[in-house]
């Protein structure tokens, strides 16, 4: 099993007059979990479709493991895109569908599939068209994790899943990833939930790349400050505030800032608690209208 990285250069996709992706340059590192984030219509699904050869770019290139994935017979069995829309044989049972996946995917694990089927309480004799939205998502997850493809892309596969099932999915994915490292790309709007899994993050906005960065580097650009309201307000003066919350006399603010040791000491002396910046706050800030400067600030460039 060799993890596959992704390299896009000038990647463009158009649907008639609509440009879904516009000259995107980005790298997704091999052997890491990358979050593919963006608002609705930002181009996430199109990007995933190009990487998995579901469609061809209108311009530019995309390479997977250094090779063009389009009609690449050797590469494609190692690349898996599971879409929320579900690409399954509706007229066949889940058993027949999984056997087909098993026949097609060289690294497929029957044990993992059976364990996850139990976890999500899926009946193998059922046909996909009889499943609820959440059960369809769960079945997509079973296929994705059990296939153990070197590059696995999960596009909004959590839709309709209840919270316990989503957390069971995250745990199963992480457990199998640790045992069998590969490249995972997670596209989701539930950033707060998947944040703990991510090592790298790509943010798309209106078909363009906003940023591609490792999560530690990104979250180190900001911090969450909690404490007495007056001290918090004093602390944030002159800094970019991503979000604020207040409860009674206590406030929390998320700011873009990298503190010197002396500043940390001063803040703590003033009764402030400093914590990591939530990725979701950064995302909301980055994808707000007119956020170009914020992106530059977040990247730490001028």
């Amino acid at each position: 099993m060799t993890a596959l990285g992704v390299q896009a250069r000038g990647l463009t996709a158009r649907y008639g007059r609509t440009t879904a992706l516009d000259g995107v340059d980005l790298d997704i590192p091999a052997g890491a979990i990358t979050g593919l984030l963006g608002r609705n219509g930002s181009g996430k699904t199109t990007f995933a479709s190009l990487v998995a050869a579901f469609r061809r770019p209108s311009a530019g290139t995309v390479l997977v493991g250094g090779e063009d994935p389009w009609e690449n017979e050797d590469l494609l069995p190692r690349v898996l895109l599971v879409r929320e829309s579900g690409d399954v044989l509706d007229s066949e049972s889940l058993r027949a569908n999984l056997r087909f996946t098993e026949d097609c995917r060289p690294a497929f694990s029957r044990d993992v599939a059976e364990r996850l089927l139990d976890t999500f309480e899926l009946d193998l004799s059922t046909k996909p068209q009889k499943l609820s939205r959440g059960q369809r998502s769960a079945f997509g997850i079973v296929q994705a994790v059990a296939a153990r493809a070197d590059l696995t892309i999960l596009d909004e596969v959590h839709l309709g899943l209840d919270a316990p099932s989503r957390y069971a999915f995250y745990d199963a994915l992480l457990e199998d990833y640790v045992a069998h490292p590969r490249t995972l790309v997670l596209s989701s709007h539930l950033i707060g939930e998947i944040e703990r899994l991510l090592e790298h993050v790509v943010v798309l906005d209106r078909g363009r790349l906003l940023l591609a960065q490792d999560v530690d580097g990104l979250t180190s650009r900001g911090l969450a400050v909690t404490g007495p309201t007056r001290e918090v307000e004093r602390f944030v003066v002159g800094r970019t505030v991503l979000g604020r919350q207040q409860l009674g006399g206590t406030a929390q603010a998320t700011v873009l800032a990298t503190l010197e040791d002396a500043e940390v000491a001063d803040a703590r002396a003033a009764g402030l608690e400093l914590g990591p910046v939530p990725l979701q706050d950064l995302f909301v800030h980055l994808t707000a209208d007119g956020a170009t400067d914020a992106v530059r600030e977040t990247r730490g460039t001028s």
Binding site: T45, E73, P77, L80, V82, R95, R99, A113
Partner: protein, 257 residues
């Protein structure tokens, strides 16, 4: 949340590590065979039952299976439209190329055409023998080039040409609808489905209106078998080429609904 229901995929079943073309052909043929079993069961009931019903009110003189040739053309044609419209997303999602799909689907279409031709031709001759044993007359209504003494080989070849064109045509129709949408799918029907109709007309022709038929040994009656075969071959190749060109390039958009 986690319960143990002992879900098993079937440990006795070995994993099939076929190449993608053979896997596709085998899968499509296998899925189609499940539907075809129902089709042939219904045909068998009709072929065995109708003569007795007719015999109760009059004379049995016409082959029932001959009427089934139209369903042998259009039923698999319809199923293959559905296959071409719905299967490619699953195929690509499982990490196989469109090339493998096109090759596998064409192999499956030809295998199905051969199987249907074999059953239709064999069935027709078996029906003729059965009618003879029962003391009934056996003839074909609007028989075209079929004559009551025709051999199995000629029947098989004519059916194979007709079915192969129809089934590849079904794949093409479904592909155009899926790749280009309803308007183009409908507007191009004369080109995509027309060849199927042409083949059934050629086979059913008993008046020899077909151009150049004298070059193929026409005796002034029905379309010569050599001409049926030649036209069938040309149409099948043209349809297969069009299917290849469109299916091997089509994008796989997310499913709606």
């Amino acid at each position: 949340m986690t319960t143990s229901t002992g879900t098993r995929l079937g440990s006795a079943r070995p994993v099939r590590r076929q190449g993608p073309v053979l896997r596709t052909a085998a899968s499509l043929t296998g899925w189609f065979a499940q539907i075809a079993l129902w089709y042939w069961a219904l045909v068998l009931v009709a072929v065995l039952g109708v003569p007795f019903v007719v015999g109760a009110v009059g004379d049995v003189s016409v082959s029932v299976l001959w009427f089934a040739r139209q369903s042998g053309v259009w039923f698999p044609f319809s199923v293959l439209i559905g296959v071409a419209a719905t299967y490619p997303p699953v195929h690509v999602a499982q990490g196989m190329t469109r090339r493998a799909y096109v090759k596998g689907a064409l192999i499956a279409a030809v295998v199905l055409a051969a199987a249907f031709a074999l059953l239709m031709a064999g069935g027709l001759l078996a029906e003729r023998a059965w009618y003879g044993a029962m003391g009934w007359d056996w003839s074909l209504q609007d028989q075209g080039w079929f004559d009551p003494e025709i051999t199995f080989g000629s029947l098989f070849v004519a059916y194979l040409a007709t079915f192969a064109v129809s089934y590849v045509s079904g794949l093409l129709v479904g592909t155009v609808y899926a790749a280009a949408g309803g308007w183009w799918g409908t507007l191009t029907l004369p080109l995509t489905a027309g060849p199927s109709l042409l083949m059934t007309i050629l086979v059913g022709n008993s008046n020899d209106w077909v151009p150049f038929s004298e070059l193929f040994g026409s005796d002034g009656g029905s379309t010569p078998l050599a001409l049926v075969l030649t036209v069938g071959l040309v149409l099948a190749l043209a349809l297969a080429a069009a299917f290849w060109l469109i299916a091997a390039r089509r994008a796989i958009p997310p499913r709606r609904g």
